[in-house]
Symmetry: C2
Subunit: 249 residues, 2 copies
């Protein structure tokens, strides 16, 4: 049994908390929140770092700019302290005696449940003992566990911004264009699913379709004329150019 | 039984041909190709428009700039002539006696099979009789059949470029960034799947996550510093700006 304490109440903390709660190998002993949060059990929440009980791992799941400050408040503990950030180096925990990273590579929204069983968890630790402990912790909720250095994690996080955050923004634009022209966005959902699904069979470069890769200049021209929003027009032109530039390589 | 003839041998023609071939309600009588194509049955292929037999529907599935010319070659027939384009208006078939549109809204690659059963098919016709015939044809392969005007179809196609072609290009960039930094792109696949899946539960605006929407300027700065490719850097900046602009609305 591994005992843990989670610090934070954001989307990542929320989903990790519930995943660990379901695992029989993990005891979630405490949750440190600033104020009482309704979406977590009342009896597990504390608001004072002094009250943290002895646990095997403390998981800091707060915004990047707050990690270092939070770490300094638990630095006196002999416990393994980890953060869950894709961006921050393991070094932001330098004040701690034992430090590590536990980065679940996924997009978390509170109102959407997540299947953790295949969710990639990227781990980093210094000692073999801590690496083993983190691996056990990660394997209690997922089968996809990876040793990833801070530098590799930075790469993954930047790539994730492109394939997740920016992709979702293109969905936002697609929906907006449909709404403004009174066409149901729903009709596009099978296309969105298939576009994501396809790269399990083809590499993305081979999966590219559409007027840009075909260099169908008449369609490209008509589309640019049609789009009214100046920012969307810029995005259309830049991504079209980039598709054509990659094709030339 | 509806008899059809397909003109073309590209990705759309290929997948439509195989979907119709499986349907018991449809007889694919002929396929017009420029030269003999190995990925279609030899005995169904003809290369001369003069040899087209009498059918209920002729489906022109060629590149946008060739539709009008191909249509003129079958304009003498009393048959319903349709094209499969997202971009072209129904008017490019003005030379034909009976005209329509049969637009399957999906991304087609030859090496990836497609489940047609829920694939949205957008139809346009002039007479009730032709609309009924097209509906029957579409329903023989899909349960998602929609009456869509040429203007609405243009909107859908532009939105599709954003949510499919541009999205796939972001996968290309994500893979490239991983490759250059020796991190396995595979680790990002569950994230890609979940990002697409999420909008079946949340609307895209509510599903947005990441440093841009959080206005995490330190992470944004570090990412921009890290990205070497100038075009990727431009895309990163423009999409970040756009996420933040949409948030303000």
């Amino acid at each position: 049994m591994i005992s843990i304490c989670i610090i934070g109440s954001g989307n990542v903390a929320y989903h990790l908390f519930h995943a660990f709660l379901k695992s029989k190998e993990i005891e979630v002993r405490q949750l440190v929140t600033r104020t009482l949060k309704e979406d977590f059990p009342k009896d597990l929440q504390i608001h004072d770092y002094e009250l943290i009980k002895s646990v095997d791992v403390v998981i800091i799941s707060v915004s990047d700019d707050a990690i270092e400050k939070v770490a300094s408040k638990v630095a006196h503990l002999n416990t393994l302290i980890v953060h869950t950030s894709g961006t921050s180096s393991i070094d932001v925990l330098n004040s701690c005696k034992r430090k590590g990273v536990f980065y679940p590579l996924q997009t978390f929204s509170k109102n959407k449940t997540i299947d953790f069983s295949k969710l990639p968890i990227c781990l980093e630790a210094f000692s073999n003992e801590d690496a083993y402990l983190l691996e056990k912790l990660a394997k209690s909720i997922s089968t996809s566990v990876h040793e990833i250095s801070s530098e590799q994690r930075k790469t993954l996080h930047i790539a994730a911004v492109f394939v997740c955050n920016f992709v979702n923004h293109l969905y936002v634009i697609g929906e907006d264009i449909c709404k403004k022209n009174k066409v149901p966005f729903e009709i596009l959902k099978p296309l969105i699913t298939e576009t994501a699904n396809k790269i399990n069979y083809l590499n993305p470069k081979d999966a590219q379709t559409g007027p840009a890769i075909r260099n169908d200049s008449f369609t490209l021209y008509k589309h640019i004329q049609f789009i009214e929003n100046e920012e969307y027009k810029k995005i259309y032109k830049l991504l079209t150019q980039s598709i054509q530039d990659v094709k030339k390589l």
